[in-house]
């Protein structure tokens, strides 16, 4: 075989393989949906409790304009949730990452903050909800604080771990160049910690979204978590499932955007 033929043969094979895998994924997803639809139609799953995929799709378009029975249209719920989660998440990054970086670098600061931190860390964010409600009442402030806290912890921990991992060789080298401690912190420590820090941000995003849903279920008047909780009261499994799908979709969307930002900032990283 000539070289050209070899290259073409390999390319063809790669294309065929990826088509095959894509087909399998397609079958996986659609097979699941079709099996679901069929099960409800055939009566194997009770239609009172389990709506069909087609019903849910129809409902999506209805709910965009219909505020019953939970008090608001879909768009309002989505916005309500997004508002809170983004505020809490961004605040957590702005406060948490510098805190973690400083704690990782300056030993005195670390000794001061870590006992407090170690005590607060094992307490799951969800159990802070009642305390926060006692303290701040029911409302935006409480929800925001809980979301903030659940995102705050991983940001701090990962920034801390990330900067602690800074290569000692680089630090020593900078010292021989005459850099001050702060300069080394700023120019070497912080960039070195970026990979771990971003991993922490990813976890923080997942945490905030999950905690928000929980917080809304416990104490809110609008938002996706509230929506699905309410609809349990009203025995509307179709809206619940719609809500679940929307929650999942938004979660994926936010993660996707974060990934794009991460790839841009960490362009120099070796990709596997």
């Amino acid at each position: 075989m000539t070289d050209k033929e070899r290259i073409e043969a390999i390319q063809q094979k790669a294309k065929r393989d990826s088509y095959q895998l894509a087909l399998l994924s397609f079958i996986g997803v659609f097979g699941f949906l079709i099996a679901w639809q069929a099960a409800v139609l055939a009566g194997w799953l009770p239609s009172r409790y389990v709506p069909m995929p087609t019903q849910i799709i129809k409902l999506f378009f209805v709910k965009i304009t219909d505020p019953t029975p939970d008090g608001a249209v879909l768009g309002v719920h989505i916005l309500g949730s997004l508002q809170v989660v983004l505020t809490g998440f961004l605040l957590a990054i702005i406060i948490g990452i510098p805190l973690g970086l400083l704690m990782g670098w300056y030993r005195g600061f670390d000794r001061f903050m870590s006992p407090i931190f170690e005590i607060l860390r094992p307490i799951p964010p969800v159990s802070w909800i009642p305390i926060t409600i006692i303290w701040m009442g029911v409302g935006l402030k409480a929800k925001g604080f809980i979301v903030f806290f659940s995102a705050f912890v991983p940001c701090v921990i990962n920034a801390y771990t990330g900067i602690r991992q800074t290569s000692q060789v680089l630090i020593d080298f900078s010292k021989t160049c005459g850099a001050s401690n702060f300069e080394i912190f700023y120019k070497i420590g912080i960039p070195s910690s970026m990979v771990m820090t971003f991993a922490g941000i990813r976890v923080a995003l997942g945490n905030s979204w999950a905690t928000l849903v929980a917080a809304e279920m416990l104490a809110a008047s609008v938002g996706l978590g509230f929506m699905i909780q309410q609809d349990r009261m009203f025995a509307r499994p179709d809206i619940i499932i719609l809500g679940i799908v929307v929650i999942g979709a938004i979660g994926v969307f936010l993660t996707f955007i974060l990934k794009k930002v991460e790839n841009k900032v960490l362009k120099w990283r070796l990709t596997q």
Binding site: D3, R6, I7, I10, Q11
Partner: protein
């Protein structure tokens, strides 16, 4: 006068890879034969393709053209009669020394008693008796390589391939291991194909040296080394050969 049997034969072996939709040659038309029970050294500058060559003999890669014949028959893919000792850590960290050495036998399906007996023999041969229950992370670099050698020997291969096995060791350990491998080879004679980029090591160990060019590799020269063992690195004959080979070696910058 060459009355020795030919163990392994490489006929016109070539390898190339497709990188960024372009064909890059790695090994070009290599042919040589390996005699039974000889210590053959393949010497080449860094990154010239010697590992690729060894991988093809081991069956880890398929050559783009050419044939490999073991005892006169063509072999395809990895053959149990060819064993390999790797350079970088290929010991399984989750297994003890005994567990690692008996690995090949376990794959072959031998029962526990037989496995342990055979493995113990080779653990003793490489001088690691007493360490059967240790884990790799508890061993030094030289000891780890000895486990690798014992593991390769344990499944009774006819040919042993060694891919720069002492490359990661410090100088003292390296010299000690060179003597070790010669002692092991004298005790349990097998055909050994040993790859290195170090001229002294090659001259110290080899019956014959195959000198490869720089990347992409082809055979530059084959040297017969008839010095008696143990060899003296300060011997004028040794140094003369060293000069000849060194001048013939391509630099790999």
């Amino acid at each position: 006068m060459d009355s020795q049997k030919i163990k392994l034969e490489l006929e016109n072996i070539s390898q190339s890879y497709i990188v960024d939709n372009k064909v890059t040659d790695a090994v070009i038309d290599i042919s040589f034969s390996v005699k039974d029970s000889e210590f053959l050294v393949i010497l080449g500058p860094g990154r010239c393709g010697k590992t690729v060559l060894l991988n093809m003999i081991a069956g880890l890669e398929k050559p783009v053209s050419g044939r490999i014949l073991l005892n006169g028959e063509e072999i395809k893919g990895s053959d149990r009669r060819i064993g390999m000792v790797f350079q970088k850590l290929a010991l399984m960290p989750w297994k003890t020394v005994m567990g690692n050495v008996e690995f090949g036998l376990k794959i072959q399906g031998k029962d526990k008693k037989t496995r342990q007996e055979i493995s113990q023999k080779f653990i003793n041969l490489v001088g690691l008796q007493g360490f059967e229950k240790s884990y790799p992370h508890q061993l030094s670099g030289g000891m780890k390589q000895r486990v690798g050698i014992a593991r390769a020997y344990a499944s009774s291969p006819e040919i042993l391939l060694m891919d720069e096995p002492f490359g990661q060791l410090d100088a003292q350990t390296r010299y000690a291991m060179q003597n070790e491998i010669l002692r092991i080879w004298e005790t349990e004679k097998r055909t050994i194909i040993f790859v290195t980029n170090n001229i002294e090591e090659a001259l110290y160990l080899a019956d014959r040296i195959i000198l490869l060019s720089k990347f992409p590799a082809h055979v530059k020269e084959i040297y017969e080394i008839n010095l008696p063992r143990p060899r003296d690195t300060m011997d004028p004959e040794f140094l003369k050969l060293r000069k000849i080979i060194s001048e013939n070696t391509d630099l790999a910058l």
